[in-house]
Symmetry: C2
Subunit: 517 residues, 2 copies
Amino acid sequence: MTLDTAPRARSGGRAARRALRTAPNFTMLPGVHNQLPTCEILAGAQVERIDAATMDILENVGVIFRDDIALADWRSAGAKVQGDRVYLDRGLVRDLITSIPATLTLHARDPQKSVALGGRDAIFVPMTGAPYLRDLDDVRRNPTLDDLAMFHKLSHMLPALHSSAHHIVEPYDHPISQRHLRITYSSMKHSDKTFMGMTTSPRNAEDVIDMCRILFGAEYIDTHPVVTGNCNGNSPLVWDETMLGAMRAFCRANQPVLCSPFVLGGANTPASVAASVAQLNAEALSALAYTQVIRKGAPAIYGHYLSTVSMKSGAPMAGTPEISLMNFMIGQMARFYDVPWRTSNTLGGAKTFDAQAGYESATTLSAVMHAGANYIWHSAGWNEAGMHCSVAKFIVDAEQCAMAHRMAQGVNFDDFETALAAVPDVGPGGHYLGHPHTQENFQSAYFMPELFDNNSIEQWQAEGSIEITDRALKHARKLLSEYQEPTLDVAKNEEILAFIAKRETEIPASDELNQSF
Amino acid sequence: MTLDTAPRARSGGRAARRALRTAPNFTMLPGVHNQLPTCEILAGAQVERIDAATMDILENVGVIFRDDIALADWRSAGAKVQGDRVYLDRGLVRDLITSIPATLTLHARDPQKSVALGGRDAIFVPMTGAPYLRDLDDVRRNPTLDDLAMFHKLSHMLPALHSSAHHIVEPYDHPISQRHLRITYSSMKHSDKTFMGMTTSPRNAEDVIDMCRILFGAEYIDTHPVVTGNCNGNSPLVWDETMLGAMRAFCRANQPVLCSPFVLGGANTPASVAASVAQLNAEALSALAYTQVIRKGAPAIYGHYLSTVSMKSGAPMAGTPEISLMNFMIGQMARFYDVPWRTSNTLGGAKTFDAQAGYESATTLSAVMHAGANYIWHSAGWNEAGMHCSVAKFIVDAEQCAMAHRMAQGVNFDDFETALAAVPDVGPGGHYLGHPHTQENFQSAYFMPELFDNNSIEQWQAEGSIEITDRALKHARKLLSEYQEPTLDVAKNEEILAFIAKRETEIPASDELNQSF
């Protein structure tokens, strides 16, 4: 795999360093290679206890697959099927999941932007599925295809984002039945990073795969993961027909599926962190196992959407201690089964981009970094429990991811002796700012967030008392003014557009424009 | 040691649980017993490399002690002293620090609120030293003794805070020369939790100790830690006369000193994370060693204030990746020397309580929890790089600490089998909210933040679109309206007041009311 290595400010003299400081840097950061020790909150015996409880659930409670093809597949695979309920023997489950690759490379159309996934390798993927946005004026409204394009452009330019995802926001100005085509095209056209594929129906998933065949070549994608498809479970212990059909489309094409139980702790799981994880684990394993029934050796990712619910309203919460604990635990379980895992990042339940959103998002980001997550989804923009994607928050979250990326590099000792030599030079009571080592290394030694204001209050007031939302929106406007579309092969572009045109004549345009995430 | 054990919502039936949900709970949470695995970012060999570099600094660069008594003490202890510079042999340093207790109990005047410190035991202490506050109307202004009392009352009532600290805000309405007496009295009077003692001069420190002798008894405090004193270093590698004199007052009285280098990474340390930690470590060890020269076996705490500075302005930053990394590293070094350690929490550089403050604070809180810190200072209120203490942020930070407290308890398996029994009861496709196990355990299974709003936007708007600052200020007013002063022995109270009156006749009232932190 070729990773893009961002240029470092380690050489080139003062003028070069100054240029680097002032020039906008849109170069994608390499994928995260997480050097943080994973937070092993469970003792080994507790991991085994959750595993045993999981297997008991799979064997004795079973999982509903609301899909005739899946039920037939499971019968052929040797599972006990009664009605729509599948009882999975632990031996069968363990045997099936062994063929899931522990690591994979997600290939981007710019090969420099391909990224590794699994083990210590992780990527940041922006949020998706918002039925509203808070726009460049912080106005909350329904999004359009142009808004989606804007978010794809920002994803392309923000260095810590490794993907342009898919429907970051729902484009309400296009018929729902044809929307997946325009969303996929927007991802492909506005960025050359990795992206995601729509799984809103089995046929829609097939369309996405067909578009990928045009973009990357049919033979190429049969051996190279180029697009991820998310399939949400219906907790407790149900997989629905739509998701299972989409799963088959992705697996048959050898594209990675995120097998994502959708957990609202306490509402669709027991009122117990450990038991909730056991149930979630059973759900994830049942889908992971099914991916290997569909195509043995196909890449698959242990996923989940995870929240705890408010006792007052039943609404999902973010940044709570149990969400962090469950992230640590699920990371351990995924590593126990040796499969890559997906989690959700920078979630916020606030209605505006206020301090609540900041606390919630940073708490989640920190937890998933310590948990050792691989596919770190919803890494930019998520607020109001996913009901809106905020442009301002998108920008700030992405910088937070850049900071987490730096933290995950751990401590650099390359320069240790040289840096130490400055200590006797400066001596007790001296200062370092004028020392040549400081001059040479300041820029690379300490991350300086662009969106955080650390000036004195007097200077901040003199500059207009601008709070973070307005600073971030100004930054977004500047980025968009400097956006350059990555070159897309003309013939491929025409072929994709012809495919969309053909499909849009085949698919009746639905009247309905509304769709929740 | 007696720890207060907060009542749990595990028994008592539905009515009792409802009462618990609606009644304000001011019961202090027990001290944190941190079950999170510590984030060991350094390999063992890297810890030894930093230790070796530290010892080289102490032996060959030396540390300036700007204080004749300290220099004489060091000569007697066998160190090489040239001018005001002390060269510390590694054997001498290692030998001296072995007598520092690895753990201690900080005793509160309510013995139920005494707390353990060291090893896995930690406490949350509010911020101190703010020259401004943002008050109950979010107005930024200079504080008074009444404002200080307000923060001491809030510290007393907020369950996750284990201390009322000392000068949370600087009371500008009292002469600076006498201020330490009123600050100490305010801590003692408005709360029966642990507190801190002023170290603004050696004589002021003596006054604090004398007041503690009245409150706790002179014999008692000679064998029981009841008050902590912070001594800031003057990085690089300087300890000043004021701090050293205050240190002696605390050590001689057997009270724990926080030995705190004041590090602005890149400005008064090298432009290298690893080398900065080596220098900070040398500074901390030189003071820790000196505490044992003063009184062998006296409790002492490895401390630091730690920030990185903005390249643009030289201002301290918060929530940056290097601050997190350095916290992980310093935690490892303190454990290597087997001494308790103090760090700083929930720091913010924002001018208002906006999203920036939220990100910065949560990032810091998370880092110090994973770093395994013991004395977690500045845990509530800190914003604008410490220039103001915000009432709103104080309330929210304290709830964040309560959430971290819950996270640090790790995963509860007591209830695992019972909770799992609900899974077959509910079955695939069912829901848990009506299940008896959920009814019984929902409240205790998932933390529900009071200050975070998780309602729908429609409900939030119907309630007046109130953002977190206003929600927190409303909560603060409610708390203050319900405040009940803890009973203070009448005779002791009179004796303390007489002491203050006597000292205030002895100390000339300075004209100057201004003092920076």
